[in-house]
Symmetry: C2
Subunit: 493 residues, 2 copies
Amino acid sequence: MSQLTGASYQLPKSSDDDKAGIDDFLSRNPSKPVIVVQGLGFVGGVMSLVCANAISCEYAVIGIDLPTPESYWKIRSFNEGVLPLKSSDSKVTEYFERACKKGNHYTTFDTYAYAHADIVIVDVNLDVQKQSSPEGELSEFDVDMAPFSGAIEAIANNCKPSVLIIVETTVPPGTCEKIVLPILRRGLSDRNLPTDSFRLGHSYERVMPGPNYIDSIQNYYRVYSGVDEESAVTTEKFLKTIIHTDEYPLTRLQGTNATEMAKVLENSYRAMNIAFMVEWSRFAEEAGVNLYDVVNAIRLRPTHSNLMYPGIGVGGYCLTKDALLASWARQNLIGKRQPLSQSESAININDQMPRFSFEYFQNIYPKLKGARILFLGVSYRGDVGDTRYSPVEKLFNYFSAVGAIVTCHDPYVKYWDEKSLEIEQDLNTHLSISPDIIIITTGHSIYKSKKIIDSLFALNTIFIYDTIGLLSADQIKFLEQKHTIKVLGRGDL
Amino acid sequence: MSQLTGASYQLPKSSDDDKAGIDDFLSRNPSKPVIVVQGLGFVGGVMSLVCANAISCEYAVIGIDLPTPESYWKIRSFNEGVLPLKSSDSKVTEYFERACKKGNHYTTFDTYAYAHADIVIVDVNLDVQKQSSPEGELSEFDVDMAPFSGAIEAIANNCKPSVLIIVETTVPPGTCEKIVLPILRRGLSDRNLPTDSFRLGHSYERVMPGPNYIDSIQNYYRVYSGVDEESAVTTEKFLKTIIHTDEYPLTRLQGTNATEMAKVLENSYRAMNIAFMVEWSRFAEEAGVNLYDVVNAIRLRPTHSNLMYPGIGVGGYCLTKDALLASWARQNLIGKRQPLSQSESAININDQMPRFSFEYFQNIYPKLKGARILFLGVSYRGDVGDTRYSPVEKLFNYFSAVGAIVTCHDPYVKYWDEKSLEIEQDLNTHLSISPDIIIITTGHSIYKSKKIIDSLFALNTIFIYDTIGLLSADQIKFLEQKHTIKVLGRGDL
C-alpha cells in the first residue's frame, strides 16, 4: 500500500515480468546510455532522479527494486507520476516532474533491466543485526551479507560484460574486492561471457534527506575508487556527469578498501562525537551547568567547531550501524580478527541515550503512570520525515512501559511504520486533550515558531521537557512564567 | 641553573626577601595598576609579557614564582634581560624587549608582591598523579590539590581586600567555588579585613607555545566567568585591556563551574579525537590502506574537518591530563561520584600510543638489539621546544629496553630535562655515525626541508620510520629509491 496516497497494489506473481514495460521505455529513449539504479530507498530513489537530470549527459534511467510489500508501491508510484517520498527539498519534486516530462525515468522489479544497463548503481541496503539488552545495551551484532550478495548476483546473472558497476551502498571494508568482484566474475563466466571487460567502482554517497536532499548528491564532495585503474577512470567519468565537480572536486583513493573504509570511518567518527557528549551531559546536569552555552563557547575554536550538543539519541540508517560494519569487516573480511572496540562502544553508548533521557526525566517526575504525554516529533532528524531507527521509538517504549499514555505529533510523518501508528497531523487536536507533559523529541523548526510557542503557553500548567535544546533562552523564559521547563544537558534549569 | 645560558644562581634562603626590589620597581612605575602573575611557566611567563604590553592600559607587572631550582633561574633571568624561554614566535622577544625598555616588568619570589596587586592572575600548575603499568596502561590517578591551594593561600594571606583574582589555571570543575573562594575568605578574615570586596573570576587560557605563542593569548577567543556578577564584570573589563576583543569577542558563561568545565571538556574532546584514530590506524595498516589519504578525503566535509591523523602519541601539559581533572572533579568536587569513563579511556588509549608505535615497528624490524637509531625530534609538538610529557620519551624507553642504541636530535631542545640528556644540535654529527634506522618522532618542519631530505638520501641504505606522516608522497618516492620507508597508519607502504 502506498504510504502517501493509500493506494493499494497487487504484488506481481513470481511468473510475472515487466519486459514489455522496459522495452517500451527504452524504445522511447533510443541511443541514450542506460543507467539502472538498484534500490529505491532514501538514496536510490533520489539518486535515480539525479541521474535522470544529469548535468552533462542525457541518460535513460531505470530504478529497480524488489516486488515486496515494502518496495513495490514505490515502483508503481514513480511510474504513475506520484513521488513516493515526502521531502522538504522542493528540488526533489522539481527533478521528478522534469524527468516525467522528459520521459527518461522508469521503475521496475524485473531484473531484465540489467541486461540493458551501461551503468548499474548499487543503492541497496546492507543491514546490521543488533541484539540488545532491555536497557538498550548492545550485547551482540552480526552482518548478514546474503541479501546484499543476492542483489549483486542479480546483476552478475543479467548484465552486459562491459557494464560499469558503481557500489554506493555503505559496505564493510573489503566488500568490493572480496565479495562483489568474485560474484561478478562468476556470473559472467557461468554465462560464457568475458570476465575482464566490466568495471567496478566504489563511491559512497553522503545523502542527507532533508532540505538539501538533492544537493547532498549533486553539490557535495565525493570520494571514489575502482578495483583497477580502468574502473577508477570510468567511475570518475560518470560522476562528472552528475555532480558539480568544478565546485566540489572529486577525491580519488587508491582502492576500494580505502573508500569503503572512508565512509564507515566518517560515520564512526560522528557517532563517537555524539557518544562523547553523553557523560558530559550528565556531569553538566549535576554541576548546575548549561552545557549548550559551554559547547557554543568552545565551538568558536575552528578545531572544535563540530563539537556536538546533548541529545535524546542517534537515529537514521548510517550512524547507528556503520561503526559495526567496520568492526565486523576487521574481524571477518580483512584485518586481524580484532574488533574496533572504541567505535563499537560509541554505538553502544548512543543506543542507550534514549534510556538516559527517560531516566533523567523520571528522576524529576516520578509519577508517570497514567500521565498524558505528547511527543513533538517522531522522526530522528529535524525537518525530515525519516523514522528509521529513530531514538524517539525507544523513548516511546520506556514511557509506555511505566504506564504513561503517549501520543505523538509529527508534521512529516503520517504513519509511523516502526510503531504501526497513525500520526494525527493537527497539533491542535493533540493539545486539546490537555497533556500533562509535552516532550520535544525532534528538532523540527516548526516547533520553534511563535504560533506553536504561544499555543503551548495557552495550555493549563504543564511540564515541558526539551530533549534536544530546541527552545531558545527567550522562549524558555517566556514559557517558564507558567510551565515547568527542563532541558537535557542544562543543569541550570 | 639557567637552561639557556648555563648561568648558576644561589637559591635565596628562607629568611631572604625581595621587598627592596619590589618597592624599587613600584616606585619606578607610580600610579600604574599593578598586576601580579603567579607562576612563570609556559603560560604565566608569556602572560606577564602580554600584560606588560597591554593594549589599552599601562600596567606594572610583577611575575612571581617559587625560589626552587626549577623556577628561580627564570626569575633571575627575566630581571637580567634574558628571556628564559626559547620560542619560534618572534613576538615573544619583541614584547620582552619592549617591557625591558619601558621598565614595567619585574620578577620575584617574594609574596610581598601580592600586597600591592590590583589584579592577581593565577597561572600555577595543577598536576595529575598518574600510575601506569609498564605497558603504559593507566591503572590509577589522583589529583593533589595541596600545591594549588598553597598558591591561593599565599595570595589570600597577603592581598588587598579589593583585589581582582583571575584564575587561568586549568582546574577541576568546582575549584573556584569550592576551594579558591573559601581560602580567600578565610585569608582576609584572619587578617580582619573585609571579605566582600574582592573579585574572583575564571578565564582559562588557550596558550599554544609555538609560532603563534603571543597570538594564542592576545588574538584568540576567550571564555570567562565570575563567582558573582561584579566579579564577571571586573574580569571582563580587565580582559578587554589585553585581548583584541573586537576581533575575538569574549564569551561569558554563567559561572565558574561552567568555564572550568569548558576548558577540560575542550581538551577531553581533542584527546578523544586523537584516541579515536588509534584503532583505525591499526585497521588501515592491516587493510593495506593509506589512512592519511582517507582522512584528507573525509576532512573536505566541514563537519569532519578536525578529524585527526595517525600519530606517535599525545604530549604536553593539557591533553594528557585534563580529562582526568574533570573525572576527578565529578567524583570529588561536584557531581555524582561517578567517573567520566569515556574521557578517562581516551587518556588511557593515548598513553599507550607510543607502545603501539614501537610494536608496529618491532614487528617489521625485530632485530633491534644493538641497532643504532636516530630520533628526529624529542618535543611533543612540531616547531616547539616543549618536552613535557612528550610521547617521544616513552618511545625512547621502549627502544632502549630492547637494547637499541638511541640518539636524539631536536633543533629546539638543547637539554632534554625528562631524560637528563644533552641534545647534540648539529644534525650532521648525528648522521655521520651512520644510523641503521631513523625515526621521525616530531613534526618539526625543518625535517621536511630539501636539505635534510637530501642528507637522508645520501646515507648508506637505512630504514626510515615516520611516526607522524611528516614525509610527503614525493619525498617517500624519492627516499624509497634507496631506503626502506614505513609510515604509521599507511598500510600501503
